[in-house]
Symmetry: C2
């Protein structure tokens, strides 16, 4: 098993590659488009995109490309596009009509820093430009693979995935309780689908076969579940400064969480179970150096809360 | 030149094909995804998507596929995706933070019929699912062509195109005046880019070459300009029932229009000039039956206001 420092070093290295790509070629810079972007829009996009996320989703994409012997440099535009999709979802989730969150990662959320119209449009721009970036991969990768990955990513991010999950989240907000199965399904769509698709797209870009994709999907599903349960636990027990938001903000916002349904102990047990599921899914690749990173990442996600 | 009845018949036929496809395979129906979509979200998507638009953009895509000897049936998923992008843009433009329009095509706008969060998410879902539909074309068309078309569509719809144009529109709203060049540039991004890309994507899917794409781009640019100028004129002179919105709503909303900058006569002259530009761009294809439709369509767009 890879230790936490080594995992963080790989995450930091890939985050820097993604950020450099986004700075030079992303929607807030003009060179790739060759077309002018209104300055105020570019500013809002850059503000949210460069707010210092961990870049976990693009890191998963790049790592799975490496696991299946692909050149992760060629997958970089796709990975950068995934981060754009993630960032758009945060901007829209924070809007007054949605979660009405004034802060994100310790800074004013996009609609507070700019205004609501700008935040809606910055999200729309990031989501659309993401598909521009992802489809730009065709310059160095087989078009069939890129198209398959785009298809998978759009499915995961759309009405049957992330957007559908956010819709369910809005419906459940303020309710006294919902069945555990409904909470799991909502998070599988809202958070899990994009994490899982990030893994699958990395594998698809490297040309992984169907049997391999099943294992990747199992890892991605378990990692997404572990991640969300840990996030819910951290919201109750964590350090406000480290999270960039107040402790207990979920319950203050009327959100049902794993701890609110199951208690902290059972939630921790469930997170650990999903961690083990993620590790098991990749056992067939245990001989591969990249596997140590991916299995260690699943441990890193949950060990913060054990 | 094709007469108006024949043009309307082709538009109606292609609109029906697109609507049938969207009903059976689109984001508000579940079969294509094989995954469940929350009912309330599917309802909002269906409400806006099936509100009876003319389906001009998918019709342009299908017509250009035919012009370059492609099988337009294979381009249908792509054309349906374009209509999803157009519909999302209308939903988000109507939001309270944007144009705050309570009506669209004579019915309550999406956020009035449902609520604001649902309207934001319905737009997000349509935009994302559009790329799912467009990338589904790979089953019957060469992946390279589909990917090129997706790349072009994302560029036209994103921060350097439609979203950027909407941002400029918001900035110009309420101003006393702006230069004519700024108004043209704003509309070229907000309305023109998607119309032009609809033409280009149809041609790309049929395998058109670079020299041909230049002519398609010129037609699409001129058609988009003619369309917008005519729309501005109609807003002042048109029939409220036919438009589904009050006469003069642009000036009531603080929008700068071609008539407000140039007067009605000069606006009509400019629309006619752009109509002629569109017709000229396709002269090399005058021998092709499809050309009569496309040239006639440009005439149809402006003759309503002459």
């Amino acid at each position: 098993m890879m230790d936490e420092a080594a995992i963080k070093a790989i995450l930091a290295r890939d985050a820097e590659r993604v950020e450099t790509y986004l700075t030079n070629q992303g929607p807030q810079g003009n060179p790739l488009h060759g077309l002018e972007i209104p300055q105020g829009l570019a500013d809002a996009v850059a503000y949210s995109l460069m707010a210092g996320g961990k870049r976990l989703r693009p890191a998963l994409c790049l790592s799975f490309t490496r696991l299946f012997a692909g050149d992760d440099e060629k997958a970089l535009p796709f990975a950068a596009g995934i981060e754009c999709i993630h960032t758009y979802s945060l901007i829209h989730d924070d809007l007054p009509a949605m979660d009405n969150d004034d802060f994100r990662r310790g800074k004013p959320s996009c609609h507070k820093q700019f205004d609501e119209a700008t935040a809606i449009l910055a999200g729309d721009a990031l989501l659309t430009d993401a598909f521009f970036l992802m489809s730009s991969c065709a310059e160095s990768l087989p078009a069939e693979r890129v198209l398959q990955a785009i298809n998978r990513m759009a499915l995961a991010a759309g009405s049957a995935g992330m957007v559908g999950g956010q819709f369910l989240d809005m419906q459940y907000t303020g309710k006294q309780s919902i069945p555990l199965a409904a909470l799991r399904e909502m998070h599988a769509m809202k958070t899990g689908a994009l994490l899982q698709a990030s893994c699958l797209c990395g594998a698809l870009l490297a040309g992984a076969e169907n049997e391999e994709l099943k294992k990747v999907a199992a890892y991605g599903r378990a990692l997404g579940a572990a991640f969300q349960i840990a996030d819910d636990i951290l919201d109750e027990t964590g350090d406000a400064a480290a999270m960039g938001k107040p402790v207990g903000s979920d319950s203050a916002n009327g959100k049902i969480t794993y701890p609110s349904l199951l208690g902290l102990d059972e939630s921790r047990r469930l997170a650990e179970e999903e961690h083990q599921n993620a590790v098991s899914a990749l056992e067939p690749y245990a001989h591969h150096a990249e596997c140590a990173f991916l299995q260690g990442l699943a441990a890193y996600v949950v060990q913060r809360v054990q």
